[in-house]
Symmetry: C2
Subunit: 419 residues, 2 copies
């Protein structure tokens, strides 16, 4: 977490070649392109470790409702009307563009027709781990969970040469996947060196139902069926007790806290203090825009840092620098990208964001971590470099036309409102 | 809370003359200046009902610390080094400029040398209720609390013709003001038709100390000494029980919730559900930037709406439109400006903000209230009109030079760091 004042970074191809004080650079050094970062914070890009990007067009479609009413009356009927490859591509192009505007360089997704999300991410220029959803009931063009798993494996191989894209297997949750499905997912992921992405222990009801059906709490259940491992990303983990936390830690799985979504859906408060005491790898996600309703990791940092101070009656709880780690290097570790991104280090990939400091709402700045967590919002993110390539320059996206994206979103909105 | 699509507002001098569908405007109507609001949300400006604007330069000076360490080692020593009329003017100019950038048209302040804050607010063009702090111990150039009260009264009279400014008497809290001081403050405010602004029940410790010293809880104590009335603004009110809430309601006093500050300082969770059940007028404030660390009411809305859903295990708790009222009309009522501002109505003062909707992170929009609370941040606020005058146009402040303000803030930062 070292801060270098007046530093420079040299990028060659997609790699960070050198990081130093500017005065220590070779005087004869010349670069093809120089980005002036004089008034900027230069830092590793944020990682969004749990989201549902193809839900972009559902942002704010229905809010302030009980979960079942929200799902049954709004989200699921709308999804069943619209879900198609074209819809997923368009919505993913929108959502990935929005991720970049929030300074995010990698996202861990869970949805369907993942190939479309992978293509959209590639077009925008952002890294993605595309989790293909797995359910026990027929969905989209699938009739069986094995088809969904096979799709993910097939795409994983198809995109093997794409430096930005990985596929993951994403069984939705223990309440829509049978034990047999979860076992198959886990086994398939391990055999193909893929991540497993799953919602676990999001609500108290889920715990009660799990105990009723399986006679044990979710993490015990998942452990006993051989699901857990260092390739497992647990989204939410709001209701996980200390014994379960120790299992997560032993298995080197990771937990993604989505504070805003968990608060908004009234899921509860994740046991952050206990997770940290038990040395669980905790990272941050925004969840989808239908339940947040934004994709800002800067805002997630603000929420988690402030909330848990009051929960624990301790203003020293979750200091800013620790929260910045959750949004960067912890996520890189969770997503098996630790050796490539999540920090600015020589030899790592150039996934870098530039944040403007010279803004009235940001000045004065005494501590960069404090400002990132408590003061700065995504509008201050000016430039985004992913895998050595500029994908946003001075807030303008390089690879897509924002006006077109906005027009397309408005078109879908009008369609969604037609009933 | 009616929403008019394709509407127009006619302003004459500082008054809203007409609000209607654009097609209903007189075809021969011509205006001296027309502001195109086609892609904008046009709404009443936000009101920040509790803040300490002259603390601008202390933003992020020290964070993640226990309250006493924060005050004793950082805030108080720095204040004692810098507090002067010039410092308060400069910091207030900065802070009021920042308020406007956050779409705020009126703020309720508590600090010292209030005349300087009033002058700065006038320069920027924002409405202010300037609460002059009252303490029992010598502070700044004061040796006795009566001097502070007299100062407030004198300034109140001096600024009587200034349409933007009112003064208030602001006894800091029950723990730094004796009963005699609080009585004098209350009596003086009533005699001079002024507001009373006080921190009450911010922490659990305050309740315990109050019971120890006065044998009763803070609101009972304040009521028994004749302090409470419809001119009283209670900042925080985090630890107020239902019996006390009923007293606040009966006395027509108001409570200002500062969610981010209360979370960050680990003060606890305000009993919003109970306040609403007991029909207490609840409004929103940011507190000072030293304990937030921003002045965004949009962010306060997001925090309060999401937080209390989880606290009450009810996702329908605090629906967005109710929260928007807390940030506008409820505050206007609390600050005795109900007949003038807080809503867009014919005959009210033209205190209006324009928010850009055509932004990637904001599209699509299904419900304007949901978007204001959960999606939009202050950067989307483009134009601010206060008392009929444009004070920000397309995010550029009209009456102050932002670059100069930033340079001045950096100068003070360097001074603050010199020890």
């Amino acid at each position: 977490m070292r801060v270098i004042e007046k530093g420079s970074i040299v990028i060659k191809d997609n790699i960070i070649l050198k990081i130093s004080k500017t005065e220590e650079l070779d005087r004869n050094f010349t670069a093809k392109k120089i980005i002036d970062a004089k008034s900027k914070i230069v830092m590793p890009g944020f990682i969004n470790s749990h989201t549902h990007i193809p839900m972009s067009y559902f942002r704010g479609l229905a809010d302030d409702l009980p979960l079942q009413e929200w799902l049954n009356n709004y989200i699921w009927p709308t999804e069943s009307r619209f879900l198609s490859e074209e819809f997923v591509y368009d919505a993913s192009l929108y959502g990935t563009a929005e991720l970049v505007k929030n300074g995010i360089v990698l996202f861990n997704d869970m949805y369907f027709f993942g190939k479309q999300t992978a293509l959209a991410a590639t077009k925008v220029g952002i890294r993605a781990i595309v989790g293909e959803g797995v359910l026990d009931y027929p969905f989209a063009s699938y009739t069986k969970p094995k088809q969904m798993i096979d799709y993910a494996i097939r795409q994983h191989k198809e995109f093997a040469d794409n430096e930005l894209i990985d596929f993951a297997i994403a069984p939705h949750s223990i309440y829509v996947c049978k034990t047999k499905t979860l076992r198959l997912a886990a086994e398939s992921a391990r055999n193909n060196n893929m991540l497993l992405h799953i919602h676990v222990a999001e609500t108290e009801k889920e715990i009660k139902d799990c105990i009723k059906h399986h006679k044990k709490r979710p993490i015990h259940y998942l452990n006993d069926i051989g699901f857990l491992g260092d390739n497992v990303i647990i989204a939410h983990g709001t209701w996980v007790d200390e014994e379960e936390q120790k299992i997560i830690q032993e298995k080197n799985a990771s937990v993604v806290i989505c504070t805003e979504s968990e608060l908004k859906l009234a899921s509860g408060f994740a046991p952050i203090k206990e997770y940290l005491q038990n040395k669980v790898n905790v990272c941050l996600g925004t969840d989808g825009v239908a339940s947040n309703n934004n994709l800002s990791i800067l805002e997630e940092m603000d929420f988690i840092a402030k909330l848990h101070k009051s929960i624990n009656q301790d203003p020293a709880m979750l200091p800013a620098s620790k929260v910045v780690k959750m949004a960067t290097i912890n996520s890189a570790k969770a997503l098996h990208k630790y050796s490539e991104i999540g920090s600015l280090e020589m030899g790592k990939k150039a996934d870098i964001i530039l944040i403007e400091k010279n803004i009235l709402e940001i000045v004065p700045m005494y501590n960069v971590f404090s400002h990132l967590v408590y003061t700065i919002n995504s509008n201050a993110v000016r430039d985004v470099i992913i895998n050595g390539k500029l994908v946003m320059e001075n807030r303008k996206l390089i690879n897509v036309d924002e006006d077109e994206l906005i027009e397309r979103a408005k078109y879908y909105k009008s369609k969604i409102l037609e009933i």
